[in-house]
Amino acid sequence: MASTSITEPAVTVAPAVHDDDLATPSADAQRAHEDRQRRRESLLRIVVPAVVVGALLLLWEWTVRANNIPHYILPAPSLILKTLFDNWDTLSSALWFTVRLTLLALAAAIVGGVLLAIAFALFKWVEIGLFPIAVILQVTPIIAIAPLILIYVSSTTAALLLCAWIVAFFPILSNTVVGLKSADSNLRDLFQLYKASPWQTFRYLLAPSALPYFMAGLKIAGGLSLIGAVVAEFTAGTAGKETGLASRILESSFRTEIPMMFAALLLVSLLGIVIFIVFAALSRLVLGHWHESEMRRER
């Protein structure tokens, strides 16, 4: 087969060039203008929320000082920060414990959720048999099962992990199942036509098709695993040396150390925010170049 082109390439590609790359001077100026506008907007996207949060904190600080509100009722933000730094040793080890618990539960949820999803997608009867159980685990409030789990599982850490896992794994499972089943039927036919092996079909078709769904599930599961970890620890109480932020909150509530409660609460919130940002960024990184959900719309 000769490598001759059957039409003049210039003619053939003309529509696309016309659509996208029409680089007249005015188009360049237009583009530069749009770039500036986009940069300004992305800057404002950070500045505006920061200003709002800062203003609220100032208002809080001012209210507490102006009305002489005692710190055991409502501590000022400055006192919370001071408490945070003064007790950094205890708080940081509690933070580390909660981080570990959350991430371990999330990792287990990813592994369990994805493996189960693959089994569901490949074997109809596995899905029919096991899906109700997954739903039961999901719909029963974790706070209601946690005491039982703490009784049956001797290791507290393992029990906490199990609680956080139960909460986090369902969104990954259900999203990945839907994703694996959502592969384009014509592409499936194409893979069949070229006699792709089951592994090739999974690797090159099903897995990429499921990825956007999995990422959506992961974003939900990230937040849920933190909630699961905190709730489980609340239920477990403050027993033991190895304890997390939830235990610090409970503990300081017993002692009415309200600034300490707020400091621990602040760390829980920050952890949740970091988890959210990390997974949002990961999702953008993985899907940004092709999937609608993560693409910036032009114009």
Binding site: T7, V11, N186, Q192, A196
Partner: protein
Amino acid sequence: MESTTPSTPDAEAPLVRLRNVGKRFANGTLALQGMSLDIGAHDFISFLGPSGCGKSTALRLIAGLTRASSGEMAWTGGAAARTDRDLGFVFQEPTLMPWAKVFDNVWLPLKLAGMKRDAAAPVVQQVLEMVGLSRFADVYPRELSGGMKMRVSIARALVTHPRLLLMDEPFAALDEMTRIKLNNDLLAIWREHRFSVVFVTHSVYESVYLSNRIVVMAARPGRVIDEIRIDEPYPRGEAFRTSSRYNAHCTAVSQSLHGALHGVDIDH
């Protein structure tokens, strides 16, 4: 394709032979009834008919994507039996993987056959050049227009150098200008590389312009009611499209097709 000598096309040895092939779906619908057809080497055959006439079903049967419930279908072309690479399939939608660049989409059939990227690269580049997209190997499908996506789809179907290209209303969703251009380009590629085409369409004009044989089909049950030869020389260009002979063919095919529609009314 490199291995075929130009003198092989020969009416005695059809590529695929269908004898009395029928397809009944699990729900009892008779999608196709008693279809017999020889697909010759270097034929350009159109399946023309209203929706529900079984033309897409027939195409999927030939592709092996669905099994006939009666009759026989066999590859008889030449000494070699059918291999996986003997078929190319173009769907109505471009059916590209959105997560993969144009190069990777076109590479797919070779990749599934175990060919490494480096080994496949020259072949991929070559077919991209054939469809006029050599400069677009490195972009994602979403950056392309509808017509260009369809070109990628055609390049992917041709990358294995198939002996038979099956196309299921490939240009139905495109605008008229793009469609005419793609018709011309497809004819040029077909003439140069001498594979056979089965082209499903519901456009009389498209089928007359492209094919040397038109299989006219009717619905309920899906069946062949006529075969019309368009004995006009290739290359066919604008001169042919505006000629009175073209119009005469279109009229003849339309009449045959309307006979089919009328026949349905009598049946019910």
